[in-house]
């Protein structure tokens, strides 16, 4: 019984717990966990899809570059939600503990816990990548704000009518007596 086989056997259980844990960080998570339609449930659907994909990559020691796509699918969402940075990326970490716990409970496979180093190192790399992506998303958001201002939408509230500005200028140019 080797680790690859254990991953195959427990894949569904691990991913399920991982998804549930990640979604439990939302205030009202029942629907996010239950609804499987990605369009009716974008948070739950995307996180499920992405973690599903990420687990396989972690388990087979894939090139960390490949982590980026599924991680981005998750972090784009969590970077703009009301989480601190650590809580936004924290759930990526969770798969370490879930996997250990599940394997440890299986008497035939508990020895495999000793062999998790490579897997856990891959998770560490994924967490670090998630931090990079988090910052990338925040930066993108600031750029969106700047672009919006540049396109003139801000005119809606921040513009002054020219005649009013002129009036203010005139008032300011009159020296006060005090």
């Amino acid at each position: 019984m080797n680790l690859d086989e254990a991953f195959r056997n427990y894949r569904e259980k691990i991913v399920d717990q991982w998804v549930n844990y990640t979604l439990s960080t939302y205030k009202s998570s029942t629907f996010f966990i239950k609804e499987k339609d990605k369009f009716a449930n974008p948070v739950g659907g995307n996180i499920r899809e992405a973690l599903d994909c990420l687990f396989d990559l972690l388990a087979k020691n894939a090139d960390p570059q490949e982590f980026v796509a599924p991680l981005e699918q998750i972090i784009l969402i969590r970077a703009i939600q009301e989480f601190t940075a650590s809580v936004a990326v924290g759930p990526i970490h969770a798969v370490k503990h879930i996997t250990r716990e599940i394997l440890a409970k299986d008497k035939e496979r508990c020895h495999l816990v000793q062999e998790l180093y490579d897997f856990e190192f891959a998770v560490d790399l994924a967490v670090l990548a998630a931090f990079d992506l988090y910052m990338h998303c925040r930066e993108r958001l600031y750029q969106v704000r700047i672009k919006e201002i540049k396109t003139g939408t801000y005119l809606l509230t921040d513009s002054k009518c020219p005649s009013n500005l002129l009036k203010i200028n005139i008032q300011e140019s009159i020296p006060s007596n005090s």
């Binding site: 717990q17 549930n20 844990y21 439990s24 960080t25 939302y26 205030k27 009202s28 998570s29 629907f31 996010f32 609804e35 339609d37 990605k38 369009f39 009716a40 449930n41 974008p42 948070v43 659907g45 995307n46 784009l76 969402i77 970077a79 703009i80 939600q81 009301e82 989480f83 601190t84 940075a85 650590s86 809580v87 924290g90 759930p91 970490h93 969770a94 503990h97 879930i98 716990e101 925040r138 993108r140 958001l141 750029q143 969106v144 704000r145 672009k147 919006e148 201002i149 396109t151 003139g152 939408t153 801000y154 005119l155 809606l156 509230t157 513009s159 002054k160 009518c161 020219p162 005649s163």
Partner: protein
């Protein structure tokens, strides 16, 4: 879950609110009440704007003052509670729908997971049923026998400052898009509950600047931006010049021309901000192409009606302005541009507020002879209805290949789709002006369309994260067609959409542009006497 380390993992080690998202490290969600932090609320209305509006005849915006939602003390009037309860009483008597909506909800939960704010935040108070419950609990407590006797046991609670703050938080986390109403078996229009919540809040001087400043501008100069007639005219003239540069066709348009057959009104954003500008160029080209006898107005220079987001008196006044101008100019009817909530106001409220517009004629297309009976009372026809009719009668010379740079999908803007049933006309137009446009998934379009996330005056940049959250369901569906069909253009028929979907795409799906359907019409039009340059990006081409 019994994995011990995970509980620790869920908590931030560093305490204090995050500078980035305004998030406070969580304890337990049940202990979290409405806390206002930079980034999670839209800025309060400026004192001078509230003062100005309150000074206007027929408008009521009391308690102008300097205040901030972040302050403990909101400087409410001393008798604020009395004002709120009296206001609610009046509205329960005046609007039968409100009374019914307060009474008939059975809390079946059909609406709970249909709101884009809930789907993007996971905050239970954004479930429409719970948002309504914020008001309903007060209604029960003070206006029903059960609530008066049993209080909390009957689902009632006392009106307190904390409740008022919660109202402010969650009535401004609703875009009145009415998606939830589609699923309500009792037909409760939750948007109207938000409308009432906002009305009540205005009674004690609680409102946001992004709404009240455009309202005050519209009241003063006729458009959201507060632009004066000469500036409005100049901008439309610039667009006409641009068209001439690009296509060699001179546009003959006019302003405030008495005796024109048609008055054309569109959101001012089409005339001033990208990418709406290209939509406005599309209108100008279309009307030139068919030789329509029409005029713009520099007074009714705004289709949008942010009054809808304040109270019914203000909505009525801003809507009335369009009809007053139509009367003054002596036109036969009005054509309205691609706007969202203008159409909700026109189709659902105009007739009882300012209608029927008997001094106008039922719109009849001078080119096709079609009478628009659907606009028999309001006398206002939608540009997409008008254009689709022209296409059906073969009145437009269109060349789809001029849009070959576009792979489009179509976003049903909430108000035209759900409030006026404008669903097939824009699709019919797209069929004729672009090749192979694609639909987004079924549960995200037509009546079930997801909001852009920034309607009802929430398109302000200080709540950008919130806008991105609430826009996630829409962006998620767009991403699907980008991945599957290489879509590069999100078309729509709403000016707020054009502005807000652009930001939404820039975050979620960079590389996907946003346009109005009329821009694609303009791109495809083969104009008489044209001397067209090589326009690889249609009207957006820089030459």
């Amino acid at each position: 879950m019994a994995v011990a380390k995970l509980e620790q993992l869920a908590k931030s080690v560093v305490q204090g609110p995050s500078m980035a998202t305004g998030a406070v490290p969580v304890k337990d969600w049940m202990d979290v009440s409405a806390i206002f932090k930079p980034g999670n609320y839209a800025y309060q209305a400026k004192q001078e704007k509230v003062e100005y509006l309150n000074s206007q005849k027929g408008l009521h915006f009391p308690n102008a003052r300097e205040w901030s939602p972040e302050d403990e003390d909101w400087k409410l009037p001393e008798n604020w509670k009395e004002i709120i309860l009296k206001g609610l009483k009046e509205r329960l008597e005046k609007f039968r729908s409100l009374k019914i909506f307060m009474d008939c909800c059975v809390r079946c939960g059909a609406c709970a997971d249909k709101c884009h704010f809930f789907l993007g935040t996971g905050d239970p108070k954004n479930m429409p049923v719970l948002r309504a419950e914020l008001l309903r609990s007060i209604y029960r407590n003070d206006f029903t026998l059960g609530g008066k006797l049993l209080g909390k046991m009957a689902g009632g609670r006392e009106m307190t400052v904390a409740v008022l703050k919660e109202w402010f938080m969650y009535s401004y986390q609703c875009t009145e898009c009415r998606r939830c109403s589609v699923f309500c078996p009792y037909g409760i229009d939750t948007a109207e509950i938000t409308i009432i919540l906002r009305e009540l809040l205005h009674l004690v001087g609680v409102g946001i600047n992004w709404i009240l400043e455009p309202v005050s501008n519209s009241n003063r100069t006729g458009n959201h931006m507060g632009l004066q007639p000469h500036t409005f005219k100049d901008n439309v003239d610039f667009l006409a010049d641009d068209i001439e540069n690009l296509t060699g066709v001179k546009i003959n348009h006019s302003f405030n021309r008495k005796g024109a057959e048609v008055l054309f009104i569109t959101p001012s954003a089409d005339v001033f901000a990208e990418p709406g500008l290209y939509t406005a160029m599309g209108y100008l080209m279309l009307f030139e192409h068919i030789g329509l006898d029409y005029t713009w107005s520099t007074y009714a220079s705004e289709g949008g009606n942010f009054g809808l987001f304040t109270n019914n008196e203000t909505m009525k006044k801003l809507n009335g302005k369009m009809y007053a101008e139509a009367k003054r100019l002596g036109v036969k009817y009005i054509i309205g541009g691609e706007c969202g909530h203008m159409w909700r106001v026109v189709h659902q409220y105009m007739d009882t507020m300012n209608g029927p517009a008997d001094f106008l004629e039922v719109p009849k297309s001078p080119m096709t002879g079609t009478t628009f009976h659907n606009a028999a009372s309001t006398k206002m026809v939608h540009i997409s209805e008008f254009t689709a009719d022209l296409i059906k009668h073969g009145k437009l010379n269109l060349d789809k290949s001029r849009n070959s740079h576009v792979k489009a999908t179509f976003h049903d803007s909430c108000n035209p789709a759900r409030a006026m049933g404008l669903i097939d006309e824009p699709r019919y137009i797209l069929d004729h002006v672009v090749d192979g446009w694609v639909e987004m998934p079924e549960n995200t379009i037509r009546e079930q369309t997801f909001c852009c996330g920034s309607g009802t005056g929430l398109n302000t940049d200080e709540i950008m994260e919130l806008r991105m959250r609430s826009g996630l369901p829409r962006a998620n569906a767009v991403k699907h067609v980008i991945d599957k069909h290489a879509v590069n253009m999100l078309s729509c028929v709403c000016a707020i959409d054009r502005a807000t979907l652009t930001s939404l795409m820039n975050y979620w799906n960079p590389g996907c542009d946003v346009c109005g359907v009329s821009e694609l019409v303009g791109n495809a039009l083969v104009m008489e006497g044209e001397n067209r340059q090589e326009l690889t990006e249609g009207l957006r081409t820089l030459v």
